[in-house]
Amino acid sequence: MTKDEAFKKYIKKVYHLMVLLFALFVATAGVLVYYTINPSFFELKPEPRTVYTEPIEADEDRIENGIHVRTGLIDAEGLMLVVNNCTNCHSAKLVTQNRMTKERWNATIQWMQETQNLWDLGRNQEVIVNYLVTNYPPVSKGRRMALTDIDWYELEN
């Protein structure tokens, strides 16, 4: 081994040492920086997290206080026929807003069949229409009703 070679080896060793020191320095700095940003990282146990899983609606046709919860329809004979035939395309709110006689419901069903892709209701139609006229009968309003549900409040001038 020449003197030259020994010197080169020595330089290499010093170089490696320097690289190692530098790497350690960078790593420590990195850890410190991360610690300032996220101190909880160094807690040994991760805080216990409960994954809360909401049970999927067990009974989607639940009835509460005589009302079919999902649609708001009154629980009475023919309810599920109405739910299954009348709330696919539109909301039950469109049904319950409307107060019609048998004749006009039948005409409305025919209109839905002719223009809105409603299927043939067969013998169920009578049960459905009976449900509607029994539970959502037309209310007589005359030519002008009295004001109702007035929410009274003091008006300061």
């Binding site: 991760p46 997290r49 809360y52 469109l94 004001l147 007035i150 009274w152 409040y153 001038n157």
Partner: protein, 406 residues
């Protein structure tokens, strides 16, 4: 274990539990993104509406205002009613949006990008009353079919766009043109892709009016999605259904347009008046054009209790379809005597007009303040319901509020 990953995974698994299915590629989901199935279905947040608006129907969405929510001179989005015949369209992209002018009576079928419309034609801004043909339906007896609107299916916003006339003329209108019919991208309730939920229009004379716009701005901003972004036809003074939303095609027709909700009994009233509840065949029903004279007391809210001797200042808006409101009166004795209100000129043709009055009451008690507008032809609002019609349109009976003096 990286904490963030842990959190993300646990959130994903709880999402999955909620939806009842595994989220494939869930790990590639953007941070902070909520799967569509879990997005807000609260209509007030979704459409940025005042929490006192009333949801009449949630499929399709139909939401109305109350009189006191319409107090602004120019209606803000938060108080504008929502009327839909079908389901809201998805993936509305203004960048790639086009409008095609076609039909039997177009000289040359032509397609414009939204950018073409904006750069090629002059812009105009008008305040325009848009009222649902069925506003007030809830009062009809026997009840009429459809959403049971009370008083709040009306608004007057400021619309900016290009004149429909300029665009139609650019494409060329043949001499035999009779009507225009719009087409849009909303979806039919049955999800049948071959069905349009609604495709209405108006006669050429209305289409060619100065104020009939292809609008891309509402109250100075892009039109909200539910009100027709990115392009809406706006025809003030006519049933709101003429002002088609999400428009991508307008046909110049050589006949009265026959799209869905133009025919049958939709947006039609008996050509000759009928007794309440009378059956009317389709051929005896005529298309509604200009809306009738009407007004709303927007301040105070019904139910005000005032002190003896205090003056009650009322205000509101009045409109008259194609016409102007010439006179505005109020009564506190159920129409026995009428007193005049001040009424302003409209900001432009087809805008609503603001009225006001200062009322003193002779003694304590329960009162109703009734408001009655009269149009430029001398026609006034009725105090009772106007002529019954099978679909319950055009109820322009006087609006009233309850007041107590004590």
């Amino acid at each position: 274990m990286k904490r963030r990953d842990f959190v993300k995974k646990s959130t994903l698994s709880s999402f999955a539990a909620l939806i009842g299915a595994e989220l494939v590629f869930g790990s590639k989901m953007l941070e902070g993104y909520k799967p569509l199935a879990l997005q807000d279905t609260d209509p007030y947040k979704l459409f940025k509406k005042n929490p006192n608006m009333v949801v009449l129907n949630d499929k399709p969405w139909n939401i109305e205002a109350k009189a006191h929510l319409l107090d602004d001179a120019i209606t803000p989005n938060s108080s504008m009613f929502i009327r839909n015949n079908g389901l809201l369209p998805d993936n509305l992209d203004a960048e790639s949006w086009t409008l095609t002018i076609d039909g039997e009576s177009v000289a040359q079928e032509k397609t414009y990008t939204l950018q073409d419309l904006k750069s090629k034609f002059k812009h105009y801004t008008y305040q325009l009353v848009i009222e649902c043909g069925g506003n007030g339906r809830a009062e009809f007896d026997p009840p009429a079919k459809g959403n049971q609107w009370t008083v709040g299916a009306v608004h007057c916003a400021s619309w900016t766009g290009v004149r429909l006339r300029d665009v139609l003329k650019d494409a060329g209108i043949k001499n035999n043109a009779v009507y225009i019919g719009y087409h849009a991208v909303d979806k039919h309730l049955s999800l049948d892709p071959n069905k349009e939920p609604i495709s209405r229009g108006c006669p050429m004379h209305k289409a060619l009016q100065n104020e009939t716009l292809l609008a891309f701005k509402m109250n100075g901003e892009a039109i909200p999605m539910v009100h027709g972004y990115p392009l809406r036809l706006v025809a003030g003074g006519w049933p709101a259904s003429v002002s088609g939303k999400w428009i991508n095609r307008i046909s110049i027709r050589n006949q009265v347009h026959d799209g869905p909700k133009m025919t049958g009994s939709a947006y039609r009233v008996p050509c000759e008046s009928v007794a309440p509840g009378e059956k009317v065949s389709d051929e005896d029903m005529c298309i509604i054009e200009s809306m009738p004279v009407k007004s709303l007391i927007t301040y105070p809210k019904s139910g005000a209790i005032i002190k003896t001797g205090n003056t009650l200042n009322i205000r509101g808006h009045a409109w008259a379809g194609e016409l102007e409101v010439a006179k505005m009166d109020y009564s506190i004795d159920f129409g026995s005597t009428w007193h005049s209100c001040t009424v302003e000129k409209p900001a432009n043709r087809l805008a609503w007009q603001h009225f006001a009055a200062a009322i003193t009451f002779p003694k304590n008690g329960y009162y109703e303040v009734w408001a009655r507008a009269t149009d430029s032809n001398g026609v006034s609002q009725p105090m009772v319901l106007p002529g019954w019609n099978p679909k319950g349109y055009l109820n322009n009976a006087c609006h009233r509020i309850a007041v107590k003096v004590k």
